[in-house]
Each structure stands twice: as C-alpha cells, then as structure tokens.
C-alpha cells in the first residue's frame, strides 16, 4: 500500500478505475461470500425446519402413548374403539417413526446412542406388531397379544422420552452452532468492513496528499509565474531604461562628438608633417567609425523601445538611386569594384516612403556587398514588385565571398558577422542587417538572401511603398516666405548657438521670432505680449519645457490656449506621451529643421500651406541622417588652406539662408564693440572676471560653430575650458590670440567672398 506520489500523479483514468475495481473486489467479495453463507444458513433452517426434529420426537413418543391407550381400550370387554381405529392408530404411529427417521436433518440425532437404541427398540416393536396388525379384528379382545404389545411399548417409551430430550439438546446444539457461525461471520464482516474502511482511508489520505501536492505545485507555479512576471517587468523596465539611456546617451555623445570631429578638421592644416597627417587621418577615420557605431546603437535602441517612427512623404526613387550611386562609387572604386545602382524603367517616379530609411537600407546592403566582395561587380536595382504586388523591390547582387547555409541561418542575428576573421579587418557593429530588416519590416516588407560560397550573394528587399502623386514642382524649390503666413513665434532656448540658428531659420521661414532663455522668461513674455506659437526646448534651466507647458496651460486668458511646439532631441515615445498629456501640441526634433518646423506649424493649424515637400529636406546636405555615417563611403576632402579657419560649408549654408544684412548684423553681434561677444570676452579677460569669461567664451564658441569659424571655435573652447574647469589664472595672451583668430577669419571671409564674386 505504498505508492509514490509521482506514480500516483501519473496514473491515468484507466489505472484509477482498475485500482478501485480491485479494491472493491478484494473487500466486497468476502462480504458477498459471507452474505451468501448466511443466506444459505437461513434457507437451510427454513427449508429443513430444523427445530421440527424435537417436535417429531415428541410426537412419536406421544403417538406411542396413544397407541398404548388404544391397545388397552381394545382389551376391554366392551371396547370404545373399532378394530379400524386401532389399525389407524398404529399406522399413525408408524408414520411418526418415518417422520423422525427420514427428515433431512436427522443427522443431528442419528449419531447419538439414544437414537440407535430407540430405533432398535422401535424396529423390534414394529417387527412384533406388524404381523399382529395384519388382522386387526382378531386383535380386538386378544389379551395376550395386546399385553405383549403394551409391554413392548412400556419398554420403548422411556427410551423415546430420552430421545425427545436428546432431540431437544440436539436442536439446542444446532442453534448454538448456528449462533457460533453467525458470530464468526459477524466478526469476519466487521473485520472486513474495518479493512475496507482502512483501505478507503489510505486511499483518501493518498488522494488528499495528492491534492495537496498538486495544490502546492499549483501555488509554487503561481509564485513562480508571479516572480517571472515581476522579473519580466523588471527586465522590461530595465531594458526600456537601457534603450532610453542608450538613445539619450548616443544623442548626448553625438553632440560633443560633432565638436570633436570639427576640432579634428580644424587640426588639418597644410603645414602638417606626413606623420602628423597620418595620425590625424587615423583619428578622423576612427571618429567617423565611432559615430557610425553610435548611430547604429541609437537606431537599434529606438527600434527596441518602439519609438522609431517612419516619417513618410513623397520620394523620388530615381533621384534616390542616383544619390546612393554617387555616394557609394568612391568606396567601390577604392576596392576596384564596379558598382551599378539603377532604377528600373517601369519604376514609379514617386512613392510614399521614409526616404532616409530607404536610403539607409540601400547603404547598408551595398556597403555590405562592397565589404565582402574583393573583385567583380555589385549591381543594385530598384524595380517594381512583380506578381501584382504593390511595392518596390531592391536587389543587391555581388560577386563576393558568399555564405554557406549555416551563415545564412544566422545572418540576421544581431551582432553576428559572417566571418569572424573579417571582423577586425572590416569592422562595423554587426547591427546593419538587423536594422535593415527591422526597417524593411516596418515598411511592410522583408529581406531575403540567397548565396553561394565563392560565387556571391543576392539580397532582395521587398518594400511596400505605395505610389504617390508627383508633387507640385514649384514647391520643391525653396522655402518661400510669401507662401507662408507670418507668425509671431516665441522661442525659449538656452543654448546660444541653437538660439542663433533658430533665429536665422525662423527669419528665413518668414516668421517673427522673440527669444528668451528659459521657461520662466517665456511665461513672463506670454503675459505681456501675444504670440501665435511657442517653441519650447525640452531641456531648459529654471523651468523646463514640460513644466513651462503646464504653467502656460494654467495661465489666465487666451494665452493658455497658445499652440506649443516642443523642441526635443528625445526620441523616446514616453517623453512625447508625457508632453502630450501636459498639453504640448506638436514636436520637432533637434536640431531644428525647416521642414520639420513647417510640418509642426501646419499640424498646429497655423499655416494654410499644405506642405513643404520632403525632397526639399531630402536633398539638404545637412539633414540629420540617421544613417550610420561610417557606412557612408565619405572621404574627408583635402582641406584647402582656408579650411583650418572656416568651415566653408557651414558658412555657405548660413549665408544662403539669411539675407545679407542680417548676416552682417549677426557678424556684428560677434565682432563689433562694445556689444559684440568678442570684445566683451576680451574685456572680461582683461578684467579677470572668470564667470564672465566662461559665459562669453561659451557664447562665442556657439556662435562660431554655427557660422563655421573654426579657429575662433578652437580658441573660445580652450578659454571656456580654462575658465570653467580649471583654477588656472586666465592668461591675457588669450586676448591677443582671439584677435589673431578674428583677423585671420575676417581675411579668410573676404577671400571667400572674393572667390565667389570672381
């Protein structure tokens, strides 16, 4: 009766049924047998009328007595009975003998000596009487014969009395025996019932244990599942936190990193020795590579946190193909490969897509193809999807090293690279394909690969890009102030460069901008003046963007209803969700883009103009491409002598955006005494006012970065660094150094302008 619980738990219904049936059989069949025995006993008693034996013995004795009295009567001279009645008496007596000696349970009596003696006497009597009763008429009055019979009867009667008593005892013995049997059977029944109860109890106990065990298992499972859920929540929170952190950090790192890159560019002067130039090139390559890695990580983390959103618009695929072709040719040529990027003739001109992301996929795949191809060609083709499917297919074929099946299976695994030995040589994060696939899936498509080792690989990307109508051509060109309503814009922005930049941008877009440095100032201004829209930086001193929004929404009067656009570098949706909750109307990314701002204003219902076409943004060289920049096969151009002083690209961009007089005004705010930042800084340096030096150096640096004045950026950064982060005494030499930089910059500017007019 010892079962292991595990055995019990694994029992099937059939096994349970068999165990129960067995148990019932074992306990119930003895019971049934006993019942059967008792039934038989009762039947025996009733059928055989066991106790009648006593009655029969007594009747025999009595009948013999009656026969005796009839015989005596027959001896009377005038007998009261007939010979017939005498014979009848004898016959009845004879029947009584049979009744006693032939009944079924005569065995109770047969074995006793009394019975033998009695039957002997009776036999003698019958032997003596039978011949006499042949003629009963002669017996009547025949005293001799009658007397002989009577004396025989007298001899027999005492034995018959003994027989009656013996019968009584036999019945009593029988009853005793029956009682003993019944008693035994009762004991047996009780024992069996006890065994049955015991077995049932054991079963019950096992069942209870089993149920408890299950219950315990269930609660353990529940506990485990709770813990797992908690762990999952924790992990998710941690993961989300990590994604947010990564997104923020990548962004945070990128900003100073741009500065680092700028600085590296500034170092690139013509008088460098070959070795220095080599070091610098290495530093630049490493920096570009690192930036690419950062961008990849930013992409993955935004995808993971689910905050990556496609911003779709009309895209000209042919232009896109040309652009990618132009950018990748250098890298292909470097490896001696022929690259052909083209769009099929039946490709729709315009599709609705996120151009940057489509371009990113193309860059990734073509760049991979270049990386893994040592000789031959790479062909990338954009064609319409076949088989009636709506969409575009990008096919990239190479004649590279190819991949075996195992590699193909693991190809899209994050951080996986096809060939570890190639890893160091080629570099990269191993995130490219993962990102590309995620992007393709976001666009309702996927990436497929087929490859043969030593022959080459074919990557096929299917993108669900609906065809779009051709946008109005005149709107592609420029941000024309005449097409937009002139808005009064309040900008809260603490960073001087951004502030300047936004000033220029808004002016270029034809809006009136008022600036303040933090949220509190914005609130003050809103109370005194009326504006169409407020641009709030997310991170601000005193009162940040969200707090300011909340404060604005609780202001009295119409000012609380003003449209609020949050300018944020935060790509995390949580931020946007919270911002929307406190009352932010729209978002623009940072650094602010004209198209982005335009879109935001449009969404706020402040402009009637339907759109600024995406292409205007697409083709802007400064668009903040999420593309991993290391994957851009860019090679930093050989610096002209001027490049150490001025970043001509940045400068040209600013100039192109601003009316000439504004440009001059802006330059004045830098250079013109007494208010210009530069003279103020110089004065502060001379006075030794460390705070003022730090603040103005920062301000100068920002403005210089915006304008691309590299020499000034460099010096201002050094001054700022010394003033803010060291306790060294401020060297008055800085004044002269600044002056030299300014002079050199001005000369360079003049030279540049001359070159333009020439």
């Amino acid at each position: 009766m010892t079962f292991k619980l595990s055995d019990l738990a694994s029992w099937q219904r059939r096994q349970w049924a068999m165990a129960l049936a067995g148990l019932l059989l074992v306990t119930l069949s003895p019971l049934a047998w006993i019942q059967w025995q008792q039934l038989r006993l009762l039947d025996d008693v009733s059928t055989n009328q066991v106790d009648s034996i006593m009655w029969q013995a007594y009747q025999l004795e009595r009948e013999m007595g009656r026969l005796k009295s009839r015989l005596q009567e027959a001896g009377n001279p005038a007998p009261a009975i007939t010979e017939w009645e005498l014979l009848e008496g004898y016959e009845i007596f004879l029947s009584r003998i049979d009744l006693l000696t032939k009944i079924p349970r005569r065995d109770l009596l047969e074995s006793t000596p009394v019975f033998e003696r009695a039957t002997g006497l009776l036999d003698n009597f019958v032997r003596q009487a039978d011949p006499v009763f042949e003629q009963p008429a002669r017996l009547m009055g025949h005293h001799e014969q009658l007397q002989a019979l009577i004396s025989s009867i007298d001899q027999t009667l005492p034995t018959l009395s003994d027989l009656t008593r013996e019968a009584n005892r036999a019945v009593a013995r029988f009853v005793d025996e029956r009682n003993r049997q019944l008693h035994q059977q009762s004991v047996l029944v009780i024992s069996l019932a006890a065994v049955q109860a015991l077995v049932l109890l054991i079963f019950l106990a096992l069942l209870v244990r089993h149920i408890r065990h299950q219950h315990r298992q269930y609660s353990e499972l529940q506990k485990l599942s709770r813990e797992l859920a908690e762990a999952r929540d924790l992990a998710e929170a941690a993961n989300h936190g990590k994604s947010v952190f990564l997104a923020n950090m990548s962004h945070e790192i990128r900003t100073p990193f741009q500065g680092l890159l700028g600085m590296l560019n500034l170092l690139d002067e013509p008088n460098l020795s070959g070795r220095q130039r080599d070091y610098l090139r290495t530093a630049q390559d490493s920096a570009i590579h690192l930036l690419g890695v950062l961008n990849d990580i930013l992409d993955v983390s935004t995808m993971e946190s689910g905050t990556l959103k496609l911003s779709v618009g009309p895209v000209n695929l042919r232009s896109l193909a040309q652009e990618v072709d132009g950018l990748m040719q250098v890298a292909a040529a470097d490896k001696g490969l022929s690259l052909n990027v083209h769009a099929a003739s039946d490709l729709p001109d315009w599709v609705t897509a996120d151009a940057t992301r489509v371009r990113q996929i193309m860059f990734n795949l073509i760049n991979n193809a270049i990386k893994f191809t040592n000789q031959g060609s790479i062909i990338a083709e954009l064609s319409p999807a076949s088989g009636g499917r709506c969409g575009v297919v990008l096919t990239v074929r190479d004649t590279g090293v190819g991949m075996d099946k195992e590699t193909l299976q693991r190809l899209f695994t994050r951080f996986y690279q096809a060939d570890n030995s190639l890893r160091r040589r080629i570099g990269g994060t191993g995130l490219g394909l993962d990102i590309s696939r995620s992007l393709a899936r976001m666009m309702g498509g996927d990436i497929q690969v087929s490859s043969e080792p030593g022959v080459g690989s074919v990557f096929t990307v299917i993108l669900d890009l609906p065809e779009a109508a051709t946008p109005e051509p005149e709107r592609i060109s420029q941000l024309d102030p005449q097409y937009t309503r002139r808005l009064k814009v309040l900008v809260a922005e603490d960073h001087p460069i951004n502030l300047k930049y936004m000033n220029i941008l808004l002016e270029k877009m034809g809006h009136d901008a008022t600036f303040c440095e933090n949220g509190q100032e914005a609130l003050d201004l809103l109370q005194s003046q009326s504006f169409d829209v407020v641009l709030l930086d997310y991170h601000m001193p005193v009162l940040d963007g969200l707090a300011t929004t909340e404060a604005i929404r609780t202001m009295p009067g119409p000012a609380s209803q003003i449209k609020i656009i949050l300018v944020t570098a935060d790509v995390v949706n949580d931020t946007r969700k919270r911002a929307t909750e406190v009352g932010v109307n729209e978002f623009t990314s940072k650094p602010l883009q004209a198209a982005d701002l335009h879109r935001a204003l449009l969404h706020c219902g402040l402009l009637e103009d339907p759109s600024i076409p995406e292409t205007a943004v697409l083709l802007r060289p400064t668009s903040p491409s999420p593309l991993a920049s290391y994957e851009l096969p860019t090679r930093l151009p050989e610096s002209p002598p001027m490049s150490s002083l001025i970043d001509l690209e940045s400068y040209a961009e600013i100039v192109s955006m601003m009316p000439t007089e504004t440009m001059y005004e802006m330059l004045d705010t830098v250079f013109e005494p007494p208010e210009g930042t530069l003279p103020v800084l110089q004065a502060a340096l001379l006075e030794g006012d460390r705070d003022a030096v730090g603040y103005n150096a920062h301000k100068l640096k920002g403005t210089a970065m915006l304008l691309g004045f590299r020499a000034i950026i460099r010096t201002a950064a050094q001054i700022e660094q010394q003033a803010m982060q060291t306790a060294e005494p401020l060297s008055p030499d800085w004044v002269e150094q600044l002056q030299r930089d300014v002079d050199a910059t001005r000369r360079a500017l003049r030279q540049y302008e001359l070159s333009l007019t020439a």
């Binding site: 029947s95 009944i103 079924p104």
Partner: protein
Amino acid sequence: MSAVSHGLFQLIVALILMGQSALALALDAPKERPVLTITGKVGVSNHPAGGVRLDMKMIEALPQHSFTTRTPWYDKPVKFTGPLLGDVLKLVKAQGQTISATAINDYRITIPVGDASQHGVIMARLIDDQPIPVREKGPLFIVYPFDNSATLRSSVYYERSIWQLKALDIQ
C-alpha cells in the same frame, strides 16, 4: 341416410349419458370407504348428515397435477401427484374464506381459501407415483410447491401442509 341418422343418435345418447354422469359425480355418494369429509359452506351434499364425503375414486376423477419439491420431511425432493385443492373446492362449490383442515392424528390447521388459487396447492394422493399409506402420511397430503418461491419456504406454509388429511371445514 340410415348410417348418418344412426351415428347422430349414438352421439346424442352419449352426450346425455355424460351429462347425467357429470351431475351425478357431485351428488353421488361415495361407492368406497370415504377418505375425505368436507363440511361447512359447500354448495352440494351427498350425505344425510350434510356435507360431502369423497372416496379415493372420486378424488382420482378430478384433473391430476404433479410437482416435485424439497420438503422438511424428506431428505430428498419428492414428486407429489393429486388434484388441485382449488378443483376440490370447486367440486363441492365451496363458498367460504378459510378452510379448517383436520388430520387423522387430530392435527388441525386453518388454510385461507386464497392459497388454493394463489399457490397452486395440491391435495396429493400419490408420492413418487405411489399411493400413500397412512403410515407414510397418507392417504391425502396437502402440499405447497415449496421450491417455486422462497415465501413458501417458511413455517407458515409448512404448517399448512397437512398430511393424513381426513376432513375440510369451509368457513
């Protein structure tokens, strides 16, 4: 023609004779020594003192039935043969509810009339196809078919099985 009328005549005579003998059976006095006296509420009589006297011939004339059953008085199953008690009661046009039966040895027992039809009770005159002498509980023996039902195997019915029967009194 003559053969047909002759046959018809014979048939009619036979029918008349049969009718007469059937009527005479209930009413005829026993030709031999009577073995059974039936008194009380009976519809016919064949004796000056009232009631009916039946000899063994008259009992044999009734439809005979047999069954074999175990009894408390024999150590093996025994075959009983005789008329149904019900037929005997019908013969004498008995109208009572109970039968008071008396044996030669003066044993007395009351039998409900219902038993006769309900249990198929026999008034046995043969045991194992042999006439029953008085010394073997004869000449008449009222027997229930005990083996037919457990209900019958009880002292109530064993008591009602009266042997050496000599008289029935219908009440």
